[in-house]
């Protein structure tokens, strides 16, 4: 009965989708017809070094702000206080593990001490396995020749995470208890999370200068939402029956929080910590753009000089750090479960190991404080023991690939470039701006309804005003191409995973691992394969966004009620029919959400791709950091990215809501009919 109703509704939805599809097709056809005569007119092109009045005014604004920095009370009482306190924490952590301090030529804790403390910590919150992984991982930083840079990255990440947790966990608990705060926070967090990661770096430098403090503050903005959100969710999803039982026994609010809510939400809260740590690491590496020290700087400089080998070995260090941090925090989450179940004997054994490791750690700390061999990581100055060889090997491999497989990689690149990217870019970027605007508004209306039109119109208007219309259109074209590829991958692999437990078990861990990697790292291997080009950025964006899309589609397919699928199969549907007529239509909401998330991820990566020759907005944002004249233009480019993001995000979300509402409405009518 439910199954029948479900299929009937999905058939109707398909019919609705079909007419909408025709409408969009018609709009595109008209566009192409108009494009032929109007091509190249009013494209609002602006060469790289040219500045629009807006860009000049932004440059002036920066100068004005810089000039008042010393005198304005806003700075001395607010921004400077924040910057200085964040800076104090960061410098303190750096002087512990990465930078010479307190009159010593080396940090307080040398490599041996850091490895020991990290291993001890990993065992204390996790288990022996992740402790061993931590020891190996931290040692490899030194072996790769990036000990100090790794410790800088770690210090910045730690500083950001500490502040995130100190603010985020209490706030999350509060938001879990108070509906009102939750309603206020949700849109703020949404905004913080949908903004492409490094767009807000430039404005931040206005207020917090460049350097580690700004890097940490940017990281805070990016990494705080997960822990707030997930903590609030954890507190909210504590079984009401447990809370009610506590209340019925006369527990106070505080007792309920301490003995019921927090313990039952603890596992979820630790998951939030895990997410925040991973986000923080990712952002700390990107913050290299505003001069935050660490591995990101190494990768950035290597990318800029197309030194694939060094980029790779530094990228490897980032990946290793990501894996170690992820495994340790995941083990900490699992321990929440096992911890209280430990028998007295296991508890005793654990205490002995902890004490032993503690003594070893203390010895290592002393040694690393006192002796040079335990302070400086031994090995050659450049490249460490193996880093140089890794870098050289990768450079050789990259050269070999470009020399010998050039035919293959070029064929792939050209197929996508000439078959998909160039025509689309030419259509979007070479049309007059008013034509593109009209088309965008029409399509937004068709897929998302009339209510989206004002928002879309404002976004388009501001894009025109930004003086970067053509760059925005080039970026849009690249984003759309990458998203199409992401969605193709998402649907194919997602459906496969959704239908097969084995595929799911095989692929999901890979996707999970891919998701914890900092965005930066994705550029490196593709730079090696395809050289510096738009296409490299697109491939990196696809690889960056695909895991999210695939997982969302897979979960959507899994979420289709088994009874509906059973009913379809029992009436003789083939696998193809089950997929196309039942599973995909019913998972439509997830597919739309996947498209939405795919777009946002791709957009943020296409911008990062500016580093490897993607051009357009991404290049301008990056150039804005390094070239003083282009500061205003870079800022405007960042704004343009945000505007594109808002336009795409709002439209796809409204489209998803409309699908939803349509389905609910039809479901209701159906109910009344019968």
């Amino acid at each position: 009965m439910t199954a029948l109703a479900g299929t009937a509704a999905s058939v109707r939805r398909r019919a609705g989708g079909l007419t909408r599809g025709w409408l969009v097709g018609g709009v595109v056809a008209v566009w192409v017809l108009l494009w032929i005569p109007l091509r190249g007119r009013d494209t609002l092109a602006l060469s790289t070094s040219e500045l629009s009045p807006l860009h000049e005014r932004l440059n002036d604004l920066r100068d004005a702000i810089n000039n008042t920095r010393g005198s304005s009370p806003v700075f001395s009482a607010f921004f400077d206080v924040i910057r200085e306190s964040v800076d104090a924490l960061t410098v303190f952590l750096q002087s512990l593990i990465s930078q010479p301090a307190y009159g010593r030529p080396v940090p307080l804790i040398g490599w041996l001490g850091v490895v020991a403390v990290a291993t001890f910590g990993a065992y204390a919150v996790g288990n022996l396995r992740v402790a061993a992984l931590t020891a190996a991982g931290f040692t490899s930083f030194g072996l790769l020749g990036f000990w100090q840079q790794s410790m800088d990255t770690l210090a910045l990440t730690l500083a950001a995470v500490l502040i995130c947790l100190a603010i985020g966990i209490p706030l999350g608990i509060w938001a879990g208890l108070s509906d009102r705060l939750n309603r206020v926070l949700t849109p703020v967090l949404d905004f913080m999370q949908t903004m492409p990661t490094f767009v807000y770096l430039a404005p931040l430098t206005l207020f917090f200068l460049i350097g580690p403090a700004s890097g940490v503050i940017a990281t805070l903005i990016y990494a705080m939402p997960p822990v707030i959100r997930i903590t609030a969710h954890g507190i909210r999803s504590v079984a009401p029956s447990s809370v009610e039982a506590g209340t019925s026994l006369g527990a106070t609010r505080w007792q309920l929080l301490r003995s019921v809510r927090v313990p039952l939400a603890k596992r979820t809260i630790v998951l939030g910590i895990n997410q925040t740590v991973m986000c923080a690491l990712s952002m700390v590496t990107i913050a290299a753009l505003i001069d935050a020290p660490g591995l990101g700087q190494v990768v950035l400089r290597a990318l800029q000089t197309l030194d694939v080998g060094t980029a790779f070995s530094a990228g490897l260090a980032i990946v290793i750090m990501a894996i170690v941090l992820d495994r340790v925090t995941t083990a900490a989450r699992d321990r929440v479960e096992t911890q209280y179940r430990m028998g007295p004997r296991a508890r005793g054994r654990r205490r002995v190991v902890l004490a032993g490791l503690g003594v070893l750690t203390a010895v290592a700390l002393y040694l690393s404080y006192t002796y040079v061999w335990a302070a400086f990581f031994p090995g050659p100055e450049r490249g460490g023991a193996v880093g140089g060889e890794v870098a050289d090997g990768v450079t050789r491999a990259s050269d070999w690939v470009q020399l010998n497989l050039g035919a293959v990689t070029d064929a792939v690149r050209n197929a996508i470039s000439y078959g998909l990217l160039n025509p689309l870019q030419s259509l979007i970027a070479d049309s007059p701006w008013y034509l593109v605007s009209a088309v965008v508004l029409a399509i937004a209306w068709i897929v998302a309804g009339p209510r989206i039109v004002p928002t879309a119109a404002v976004c388009l208007g501001l894009l025109v005003g930004s003086g970067l219309w053509q760059e925005a259109m080039v970026t849009l074209a690249a984003t759309l191409v990458a998203t199409v590829i992401v969605m193709a991958l998402g649907v194919v692999v997602g459906v496969w995973m959704g239908r097969s437990d084995r595929a799911d078990g095989l692929i999901r861990p890979t996707l999970d691992a891919a998701q914890v990697m900092p965005a930066f790292v994705y550029l490196v291997p593709f730079l090696g394969l395809f050289g510096a080009s738009r296409f490299t950025a697109i491939v990196a964006a696809v690889v960056f966004a695909a895991p999210v899309a695939i997982k969302l589609v897979a979960d959507g397919i899994r979420g289709v009620p088994a009874t509906v699928v059973e009913a379809a199969v029992s009436s003789g549907s083939s696998a193809w029919q089950v997929i196309t007529k039942v599973q995909l239509p019913l998972a439509r909401q997830s597919v739309t959400l996947a498209a939405n998330q795919g777009l946002i991820y791709v957009l943020s990566m296409v911008v990062v791709g500016g580093l490897v020759g993607a051009g357009a907005l991404g290049y301008l944002v990056v150039a804005g950091f390094s070239q003083s004249d282009l500061y205003g233009k870079g800022l405007a480019a960042g704004l343009a990215v945000v505007l594109l993001g808002v336009l795409l995000d709002r439209t796809t979300q409204a489209a998803a809501r409309r699908l939803d509402a349509g389905a609910a409405h039809r479901g209701l009518r159906k109910g009344k009919d019968s």
Binding site: S241, G246, T247, S248, L249, G250
Partner: protein
């Protein structure tokens, strides 16, 4: 709507103040719920009220009293408001209007502190989904109420250990809830409620989630505990058999209102309306009705040399005595002859069940 059948004489004799006295209790959910009670809106049916105001009257004008050590069962189908009613009695749900007296004290007048105090010392509740804390051992779950109250560790473990034995969980102190079966988990829930030594125990459909056999076990357990510790119990259920088995008296609810209040034999023998009659149609009457319900008045020509039985003897238990006697059985209440029961009367009850 029939008048709720409440009268003082139905409260078991020999007690002073009722353990719980509920008068005109209402609970209305929805926007501006307080404007419903005491207005013509209150007379609307549930559906009409919903349509007109968007409010749901979960509990409508309920009154009853519970005597100390009585087992009082509230029975109704899902959506009848019984769970809301029991939550109103401990103010887990705030009543809209009416009074609730707990041993004479006005519960609705209690401030937060006093209410907490009452919950800590006076009553305790057992829940349908147990509401155990999965990260605590069985012993710590049972001791939870004492811990909240601030009892020292040694003292609460001592007390929890006693309760552990009382609810039949000896040897399971160090287990975690998810290592136990559903029935055992509910024993933990029961133990947690008993550990604080409350005077009134509330049960909110405690056995609905359990298998039928385990449910019977647990019902016996409650009867045994009631026998041993003698608490006042308010028991919510949707299962008529459970209600008849456990209840000294039963309140039947429908759409938030009381349909009938009475002893099990009253509910089965004299259903207040068709709804209750439908409900009790399948009940084996011989198990519930006392011979008072099947006796006939004494006639002048009755032989008075037959055996005597009390009026409160259940038919099932009287079968052998009546059928084996050649003369009709005399029914005696407080030393007076109140009626006669013969073979035919007994057989009529038993045969009716077969059909």
């Amino acid at each position: 709507m029939p008048e709720p059948l409440i009268s003082a004489e139905r409260v078991p004799a020999g007690v002073g103040e009722p353990a719980l006295a509920v008068t005109d209790l209402w609970k209305v959910f929805g926007p501006r719920a307080d404007r419903v009670v005491g207005t013509p809106l209150a007379d609307l049916s549930r559906a009409d009220l919903m349509a007109q105001t968007g409010c749901v009257a979960a509990v409508r004008d309920i009154s009853f009293t519970v005597a100390p050590t009585e087992v009082f069962v509230v029975m109704g189908l899902s959506g009848s408001g019984k769970s809301t009613l029991v939550r109103c009695l401990t103010r887990l749900v705030e009543p809209t209007s009416g009074t609730v007296l707990v041993e004479g004290e006005d519960l609705r007048g209690a401030d937060a502190k006093r209410l907490r105090d009452l919950r800590r010392h006076r009553f305790a509740m057992v829940f349908q989904h147990f509401g155990l804390l999965p990260h605590r051992r069985v012993l710590d779950n049972i001791a939870y109420g004492l811990e909240i109250r601030g009892v020292s560790r040694t003292e609460r473990y001592r007390r929890a250990g006693e309760v552990l034995d009382l609810v039949g969980l000896t040897g399971h102190a160090d287990h975690f809830p998810d290592q136990l079966s559903g029935g055992m988990q509910q024993r933990v829930g029961l133990g947690r409620a008993l550990a604080v030594d409350p005077r009134i125990l509330f049960f909110d459909e405690p056995f609905s989630a359990l298998d039928p056999l385990i449910r019977r076990d647990m019902q016996n357990e409650v009867l045994r505990l009631h026998h041993e510790v003698g608490k006042t119990m308010i028991f919510i259920t949707h299962d008529l058999h459970e209600a008849l088995r456990l209840g000294d008296r039963i309140l039947i609810m429908r759409d938030g209102a009381a349909v009938q209040i009475g002893r099990p034999d009253e509910v089965v023998g004299a259903p207040a309306d068709d709804y209750v009659r439908d409900f009790v149609a399948d009940v084996p009457k011989s198990h519930v009705l006392t011979i008072r319900w099947v006796m006939r008045p004494v006639r002048d020509d009755d032989p008075l040399d037959g055996p005597e039985l009390g009026a409160d003897v259940v038919v099932r238990d009287a079968v052998r005595a009546v059928l084996s006697s050649s003369a009709p059985v005399k029914v005696v209440h407080d030393g007076e002859l109140v009626g006669m029961v013969d073979d035919e009367a007994i057989l009529r009850v038993i045969v009716a069940e077969e059909q």
